[in-house]
């Protein structure tokens, strides 16, 4: 991946688009300016920040802080302030979701393979994984973290959204001009476009790349401030006996959440907020929409 770390610049409407790859997603920065130098600089700053976060928290990268923690085998690992703040945020999410959202639940992947097939794991396989799931067993403080042997943490549910928010903070230090940061569909803007025109954002339909059925239209959302994140992935599921098993897992039972929307898009002041709200909504299953409606949060769900 790292040999592909390039930022390309393209004209886009009355400004520039800076494109790069990170976190297994196409990423894009849009800036409304004719100043090419500024555009290049903003693109570099954003890409470098996103790559930094990817290197630090990717569970695929054996050198990442995440991997070091996961390979610690019960030893205390010292952490920096940023990692502490992220763990702290994960803690809040665990508490607020009453245990449904748990960054130690990634290990359930060993039982579940959401490849569109029909092979369900056995209850014994799930139970084996579940013995390594449980956020309350993780001990951490501002200086260090201790993870029981066999347990893993995964920032996958937070990392991309966090990178969007970090990018926006850095961009605002560089320029007052309108900028949009889009990391594979999770995105935020610094402000409305000049003369107060909102950004037009296309949200890909879950079936857009599905099996050859008629191409459904994308949804267009106008965003003039704040952020937007989508949870759910229509391509990751299992289908057995006509029943669809989504990849959204209940961290307490180890089984997929039933009757959850296929995707949930949420708008919030910060991207990480939008992302966690979208995920928490999916974890409510059939009550996903009600959960967000009651909190007067704007969302678009697709079932």
């Amino acid at each position: 991946m790292k040999n592909n770390r390039l930022v390309s610049i393209n004209n886009h409407q009355d400004g520039y688009a800076l494109n790069f790859q990170a976190m297994a997603s196409p990423c894009e920065v849009l800036i409304q300016t004719r100043n090419r130098q500024l555009a290049v600089r903003v693109g570099d700053v954003v890409a470098n920040e996103v790559w930094r976060i990817e290197d630090k928290y990717s569970r695929y990268d054996q050198l990442s802080v995440c991997s070091i923690i996961n390979n610690s085998a019960g030893q205390a690992i010292s952490i920096d302030k940023e990692t502490y703040l992220l763990l702290n945020f994960a803690e809040q999410c665990y508490q607020l979701s009453e245990g449904l959202f748990d960054i130690t639940s990634g290990i359930l992947r060993k039982a579940w393979h959401f490849d569109g097939g029909e092979k369900l794991p056995s209850q014994a396989q799930i139970a084996a994984c579940l013995s390594y799931v449980g956020w309350p067993q993780v001990q951490f403080n501002p200086e260090q973290i201790t993870l029981a042997k066999g347990m893993e943490i995964d920032f996958g549910g937070l990392g991309k959204e966090y990178a969007v928010d970090r990018a926006i903070i850095l961009v605002k230090e560089l320029t007052d001009l309108p900028v949009l940061v889009n990391l594979g569909g999770d995105l935020a803007v610094t402000s409305a476009r000049l003369t107060n025109i909102p950004w037009q954002v296309a949200i890909e339909h879950p079936d857009a790349h599905g099996a050859g059925n008629s191409s459904p239209t994308d949804m267009i959302i106008s965003l003039s401030s704040g952020a937007l994140a989508t949870s759910g992935d229509a391509r990751r599921f299992l289908l057995k006996d006509g029943k669809r098993y989504s990849h959204v897992l209940n961290a307490k039972t180890g089984w997929p959440i039933q009757d959850a929307p296929r995707s949930m898009t949420v708008v919030a002041p910060a991207c990480i907020q939008a992302g966690i709200l979208a995920t928490m909504a999916l974890l409510q299953g059939e009550n996903a929409e009600q959960f967000l409606t009651e909190q007067e949060i704007k969302f678009w769900s697709r079932r």
Binding site: Q92, S191, P269
Partner: protein, 439 residues
Amino acid sequence: MMRNKADNKNIKAALTIATAALLGGNSTVSAETVNSTDDSAWEFDSAFLFYSEADRVSASEAIFNAKKTFEDDEVLNLKLTVDALTGASANGAVAQPNVQTFTRPSGNGQYDVAPGDTPLDDTFRDTRVQINGQWTQTVADDLTASGGVHLSKEYDYLSLGINGNLAIDFDRKNTTFSLGFSYFQDTFTPEGGIPKPFASMLIGDSSDPGWDEEFAKTRIGSEDDKTTTDILLGITQVINRRMIMQFNYSYSMVDGYLTDPFKIMTVVDNDGLAQDYVYESRPDSRVKQSFYAQSLYHFDTTVLDVSYRYMWDDWEITSHTIDSRFRIPLSDSFGTESYLQPHFRFYQQGAADFYRPFMMENDPKPAFASADYRIGEMTAYTLGIKYGRLINNGHELSFRLEYYRQTPTDAGFDEPGVLKEVELYPSIDAIIAQVTYSF
């Protein structure tokens, strides 16, 4: 998994705090969105406006605007406006202590005005159709060009116009300099023809066999025209994230027939009694200049828009206009993305050098004279409120209600005899109501 409502509210608030802890306090700004189902389609605005002056003119206006943005940000804007006017408008004569009889501008028939009443011609009725087309595109980095055509047709009036505009951006678009030009050619074909300046209004029996011949003697032709050339220089400056300022200077030259063929003046004797009614006469050119400054300021949630215009011309008319709007977002319980926008406008105008409310019988005849209150001394203000909200699919619906009061004032003319007893400067009250729907 069911939670009660209070718990869920806590989730939102707790997440906001958690996010602030993670990202730093300054990052928790607001989120504003509108969703729509398709992207590059036409955008439409429709508006219906009703304007009514107490006892005078009523106007209904329907506006339909269509806008399309093409791939490279070219914008095509088409606008259709249809107005219908009915009612009575001041004919320029002064009120008298006795009944007054006037001939209609067409020469077909007379109308009477009661003692003490400001003479109004109640045959005012017209329908106007106006079409505007505008094309805007980027021609180079930092350079936007725009060109348009205009056509306006009334029963007795045709206006054709073209315009062009260039906008150049500097300093990362923080500064925009614009240069505008427009040219209009208007043709006036009033029913009954163009009256001869200062000719006496023929009053009598319009069914008399000699009437048409006599009436024709007060006319100089069937149509006349005028041209208007406007040049505009403007600068828009982004002051900071919250504030934008704009400054414009405009220079406008109007040449041709600038007289109002429907307006007359009363010629009075030393007792203020009407002796004659003569058609008004205005110069055949006018040069207007104006300076305009506007400031838009975004507070945290509200937006204040204040502007000032100073206009002056070679008819010695000067005017000051202060216009302000304040946009206040409302909570969603008043409608999705709803807002209230109070509006206040103040206008003050000095009279043209040839304006006079009436003429004295024994005074030497001036080169030009008009008693049209619209070029006399006046103040006016508008108070209004607008409410807008989004309805399903992000379409905006808004309502505007305004009250307008225009008060002509005495610029210091002596009022002989009976003119002291009548209202020479009647004020006008009007209500404006508008509904706009964007889709």
